[in-house]
């Protein structure tokens, strides 16, 4: 079902997030390409940096607070905000209200309450805000989808990403076993608890390989960097790719 939003071009502000900006620029380019192809315009508030997730989740709460105020300053005039990272969007939705409360500034609390409904994870923006599944993409490869925990349990993406993928022409989408199981990334967890993280990763990689997919995709490059890092170490030839880069594919 297409919502009325699909018919009108929106002004989308892209929150690329710090790690996508630095490590995965191709994902950002793909997001821009898909959104423009759908008739929307994309702007990029230049002062943006990080959502604060790494600090907040590792216990550096005080250090995370200025990142909230920076985000508010940068995006206060945006019509709609899209970000290609489930964990960062979950961070904002789950913790910005708590952070605002912590800052004891009613103005910030009000601004957070006003801005959060305008924030969308990329796939969610397509399936829920725009109400579309077919973005006109072509990607002739065997692909499996990795559901990141934050997308699954915090943003409740459900099968939205899979519906987008199924509509891609030429794709051979195969489901991974234990789709709901964490890949073991968990931010600083991968370093602080390297052994356990590696054991979890081994299970996930086994799942990916069992699908005989060429590409493992998802809505969060941090999980994909973790899974992909192991796939590369083992020279499996399986390639991690953000969902935006598949949806940007053309014939």
């Amino acid at each position: 079902m297409e919502s009325e939003e699909a018919g009108r071009g929106l002004r989308v502000s892209l929150f690329i997030t710090c790690y996508n900006d630095t490590l995965f620029p191709e994902t950002g380019k793909a997001v821009v390409k898909v959104l423009e192809r759908l008739g929307h315009t994309v702007d990029f508030p230049a002062g943006q940096t990080c959502c604060g997730q790494m600090h907040w989740n590792t216990g550096y709460q005080e250090e995370g607070l200025p990142m909230l105020t920076r985000f508010l300053e940068q995006f206060k005039d945006s019509e709609v905000i899209v970000s290609p990272s489930t964990s960062c969007v979950a961070m904002m939705k789950d913790h910005y209200p708590i952070m605002a409360e912590r800052m004891k500034d009613p103005k910030i609390t009000a601004e957070v309450a006003a801005i959060l409904p305008k924030v969308w994870e990329f796939s969610q923006f397509l399936t829920q805000k725009l109400g579309i599944e077919d973005v006109g993409a072509y990607f002739p490869h065997r692909v499996t989808y990795h559901a990141s925990c934050h997308g699954l349990r915090s943003l409740h993406l459900g099968d939205g990403p899979q519906r987008l993928l199924r509509a891609v022409r030429g794709i051979d989408l195969v489901e991974i076993e234990n789709l709901e199981q964490c890949c073991g990334f968990g931010g600083t967890f991968a370093i602080k608890n390297a052994e356990v993280s590696s054991a979890m990763l081994a299970d996930k990689v086994r799942g990916v390989l069992n699908t005989r997919a060429e590409v493992v995709t998802g809505c969060d490059n941090s999980c994909l960097m973790h899974v992909g890092g192991s796939l590369h170490r083992q020279r499996t030839g399986v390639w991690p790719l953000h969902i935006a880069e598949i949806l940007a594919g053309e014939e």
Partner: protein, 505 residues
Amino acid sequence: MSGAGLDPRTAPKFQVAARRLVGDAQMRKNVRHATNVIQTKRAKVVAEMPDWEDLRESGRQIRRHTLRHLDYYLLQFEKNCTAAGGVVHWARDAEEARQIVIKLVKQSGPQGESPTEIIKIKSMTTEEIQLNQALEEAGVHAYETDLAELIIQLGHDQPSHIVVPALHKNRAQIREIFQREMHLPGSDFSNLGGTPQDLADAARRFLREKFLRVKTAVSGANFLIADTGGVCIVESEGNGRMCLTLPETLISVAGIDKVVPKFSDLEVMLQLLPRSATGERMNPYNSIWTGVDKTAAGDGPRTFHVVLVDNARTKILADEEARQTLQCIRCGACLNACPVYLQTGGHAYGSVYAGPIGAILTPQLMEMHHAQSLPYASSLCGACYEVCPVKIDIPEVLIHLRNKVVKQQSSGLNILANPEVMALKAVARVFRSEAVFRIAQKLGRLAELPLSHKDSNGVGWIDWLPGMLGGWTQVRDLRVMPKQTFRQWFEAREKAGKKGAADGK
């Protein structure tokens, strides 16, 4: 595992214990199999409940409300339990609780003599206060009567799960323990078979003798019922029912968080607990007893004590963000769902409380002085929160406790000894300015240059990182940073008047 108790004060850090345990293939196989079986059963009996989410919400509200008015409900419980013939004792901490129980046990023999043996029903609270060890030192041997606890006790092992304490052992290992350690005059266990029936028969034979002989029992409690003064225990084997009815003296030890306001609250709790804990619609044995029967023909124990244990719980209650920890009804669902527990089993947590609930409860019981690695023993995947029958947001509490750890580690000179604290504080400064962030992106690219090399596709990769970051490159490669950041690309494109399409053509 040695027979010495799991003690957070002396246990190694989670990371250190886990490193050894992930190498234990047999244990990991046992844990994987057992958690998988319980989870599948749970999923089935939860799916058949159309109002499961409403039940969870009711469970949460009952527990939350009780904790808000804990003083009121505890006093109400004391009054009603006393009126029914029970004796209520209050213990500030583990030591005081142990002393009270030892004193009560010693007075419980005929003519006030001390018995040398007692029987016990599985109880996490008595594990928490390390009661068995203290009783042993006081000359009293406690027989665990729950099958899994018996396996742990006979095997000189430690519990690895709060509901299924011997979940890390398989049937062959259990048979071996029984053959080696079960001694009963007139019975020979050396030729014991290995079927579930054989093992259950052996345990029954071994325990029956204790049930019929020993006159003092110690139990825990699942719920204390304020409006009736009753105590409730649910179990699967009937050993509990034996311990609650056959002895002359019954001593129930319970954390002060175990109270529920009304008898009718069990309507919710006894739907949530068995489905979450063992994947059963109802527990095979549900016992509720209220005081003692004073008539001459009276059934059951003649003397009944309840020992209410605080042991840091009021401190947890005072912490607004962490107090939901006390809502826990010890169902163990979060352990079965946890991908970290799946890999390490319970012993890595260095406490009788393992898994996600252990990771938040243990540090708080220790008032944050011990077990500082536990709040980090999670990838924050949220699977625990999803299954918790009383909706404890465990990831949120973990993050809150991490903050407490960081505060302790960055106070005064501690900060200098901790490269992580220094690094994360420095990175936070970077994110406060776009200009500094840009410089950091450039510097990062330079810094990784000597570590990177190209693969056959011409893509740069790093397969070794120094120091803390080495945890990453143990099993994973890292792609080098691309030459151009996204923001540089976007700006160049804007400048060129979007002449090039988004794909940079």
